[in-house]
Amino acid sequence: MASFPKGRPRPSPDLLEALRAGKVALRRQRERSELREKIRIVLELQRLCLPLIERRRPLADWERPWAITP
């Protein structure tokens, strides 16, 4: 097990809060994306994720990247 030196500097609450706020802002930005862009991302995620899922288990016949345009 790795051991960490005592007294390692910790991020301040303000920094943590800023980092969390940044995540929320990014999420809001993605939420507001054009629907067509969101569908394009879903299609891209399918192409990325399905090969990874297939390493763990066989895919069902319908689990294929959709052959469509956004």
Binding site: R30, E31, V42, L48, L50, E63
Partner: protein
């Protein structure tokens, strides 16, 4: 190559031809309308089937309608314009209300009925369906700016859903 809008047009055709009384996109694809896009591999569609004398709900007429247009069924999905679509007859009063209160949005000029985010969360919180993945989706939706918290609280209270 077909487009996502082509698949949505077919849903509207189904409603227009009476093979379904009404429909609403649900599940992860409905989330895409309200929140961040997430990986998903099929399109869930809640449906009201036409009422008839039969006591057992059957999707056979819907599958027959689809087959007549060249959309094949496989493993409880219908391949519509390149999209595997799963049709889910409304299974309880919450699902019925989710269809009735769905909002009509537009995708590339095509109107599409989409379950409101509060109903998506409520459906994810149903006791029989609380998988880790569904709880994660509910949590993501609850952070969405599109969510009406008061409406969700009302649904939780009326349908006895645990947070």
């Amino acid at each position: 190559m077909p487009s996502f809008a082509d698949a949505l047009r077919v849903l509207n055709d189904m409603k227009g031809s009476g093979v379904v009384e009404d429909y609403a996109v649900a599940g992860a694809m409905a989330m895409v309308f309200w929140a961040e896009p997430i990986p998903t591999y099929d399109l869930d569609v809640l449906v009201f089937l036409p009422e008839d004398e039969a006591t057992i709900v059957s999707l056979a007429p819907l599958y027959d309608w689809a087959a007549g247009r060249g959309y094949k069924a496989q493993a409880e999905h219908v391949m519509i314009e390149g999209v595997p679509v799963q049709f889910l007859p409304a299974h309880n009063s919450l699902a019925e209300e989710a269809i009735e209160r769905a909002v009509t949005l537009e995708y590339e000029g095509v109107p599409v009925r989409v379950v409101r985010p509060e109903y998506l969360v409520a459906l994810y919180l149903e006791p029989g369906a609380r998988t880790l993945k569904r709880r994660e989706r509910a949590a993501a939706l609850m952070e969405s700016s599109a969510l009406d918290r008061a409406a969700l609280d009302d649904l939780r209270k009326r349908f006895g859903l645990e947070p």
